[in-house]
């Protein structure tokens, strides 16, 4: 009887801990192969044949189609610059510059991966080509539920969200990581509740 409970103990630890650890590590925000810049994190090797097993497992389990090296790179932000989780009820300001690339886009996604929609139920995004820029060439983007003049990325619903900045045809993915790219700062302006 004692041997039975001992075996049970070992199996519960093995399966429970092993399974739980696997569940956690294929969620979106694991640190393997990650490149972090301020609030932003990217997985440069996600779209390559040399991706690590964790990234491959995550990609397969979530049915993702990551950007290939010649396509671009996606930076995810889940927190603001003070490390508070991003919330859809809040207003955020993104300012600064982005690394060089042919074009970039900014979109808000639910944590499950779906894009957040605007008032007419279309996925909302901003494309670098149609942005207004300040005199010094930098940009200001407001992310929030209420419309504002200038560059505005709408948020809808409530709860947490992920900001994704995707850089296309950029040298970050094709050259060595010697250059430290500048990413915009995500600042919380205010919160509704």
């Amino acid at each position: 009887m004692r041997a039975f409970f001992e075996a049970l103990y070992v199996i519960v630890i093995g399966l429970g801990l092993g399974g739980g650890l696997s569940m956690i590590s294929i969620q979106d925000n694991h640190g393997f192969g990650a490149l972090s810049l301020g609030s932003w994190t990217a997985w440069p090797l996600a779209g390559s044949a040399t991706a690590d097993p964790y990234t491959r497992a995550k990609v397969a389990a979530n049915a993702e189609v990551p950007l290939g090296a010649a396509e671009g790179i996606a930076f995810h932000a889940r927190n603001d610059n003070q490390n508070r989780p991003l919330r859809r009820e809040c207003i955020y300001r993104l300012s600064g510059t982005t690394p060089p690339g042919r074009v970039w886009t900014l979109a808000a996604h639910a944590v499950s991966g779906e894009g957040l929609t605007n008032a007419i139920a279309q996925p909302a995004s901003l494309v670098s080509r149609s942005l207004l820029r300040r005199d010094d060439g930098k940009m200001d983007i407001v992310v929030g539920p209420q419309s504002v003049s200038g560059n505005w990325l709408p948020l809808s619903g409530s709860g947490p969200f992920v900001l994704i900045l995707r850089l296309y045809d950029t040298q970050i993915t094709t050259s060595s990581s010697l250059l430290q790219p500048d990413m915009p700062v995500v600042q919380r302006v205010s919160c509704a509740s």
């Binding site: 093995g14 801990l17 650890l21 779209g47 491959r56 397969a60 886009t105 779906e114 995004s125």
Partner: protein
């Protein structure tokens, strides 16, 4: 007490093994991966829309809402894959994935020849045949060699605002994902849209090259 410590240690080692097994096996056994989701949408050798700036939901998660996207599955054991589109767009890119969602190759309009979408995806045997007898239409195509048999292709076209909708839709409607008949095959058929041809049910029919296409 030492025994409990010992048992915990064994449990932890087992947990490590279970964890590694799960992580390594997920890509092979995931039942809701990209391939399976595409399989539910359309047959093999045929483009299916994946995401569009006009639609609230995409077939695959975490895709860029500013892009119009289509995907197509292929099986190189049947035939080499020929990708082509006549359309023009300010930015497009192509990613080729294997069955398990690993990226084999990617390119964009600037890395393509004459900024046209034209590519041949072949396995090493087909590559050897191509080298021996290079067909003229393969010269302007991006050649990709891979060991993987099954896989899928994702084409992304940037639609920076709705006024580009016509171009981006045209680019993807024009896009072909078809079996390429190697030149030394008897009864060559080089183009022709075989995309609507029988699904994966009849794997041998596709390469007979007789040009018999069911009118769909």
């Amino acid at each position: 007490m030492t025994r409990l410590f010992y048992l915990t240690l064994v449990g932890l080692v087992l947990a490590g093994i279970v964890h590694l097994m799960i992580i390594l096996l997920i890509p092979s056994y995931a039942t809701k991966d990209a391939w399976t989701r595409l399989e539910n949408r359309s047959g093999i050798w045929s483009f299916t829309p994946v995401a569009s700036p006009d639609l609230p939901r995409s077939v695959l998660p975490l895709v860029d809402p500013a892009f119009r996207m289509a995907a197509c599955r292929f099986d190189l054991q049947e035939a080499p894959l020929r990708l082509a589109s006549d359309g023009r767009a300010p930015f497009w890119s192509v990613a080729i994935f294997d069955r398990q969602g690993r990226n084999i190759y990617s390119f964009n309009d600037r890395t393509a020849i004459e900024r046209r979408l034209s590519a041949l995806i072949v396995n090493p045997v087909q590559m050897a045949r191509l080298r021996k007898n290079p067909p003229p239409d393969a010269e302007s195509a991006v050649l990709v060699e891979t060991d993987s048999a099954e896989g899928f292709v994702v084409v992304r076209v940037l639609q920076s605002d709705p006024s580009w909708s016509e171009e981006t839709t045209g680019f993807l409607n024009n896009a072909k994902c078809e079996r390429y008949v190697l030149p030394s095959d008897p009864g060559d058929v080089e183009d022709g849209d075989e995309t609507s041809l029988n699904g994966e049910a009849s794997q041998t029919d596709g390469q007979d090259g007789s040009g018999s296409k069911p009118s769909s």
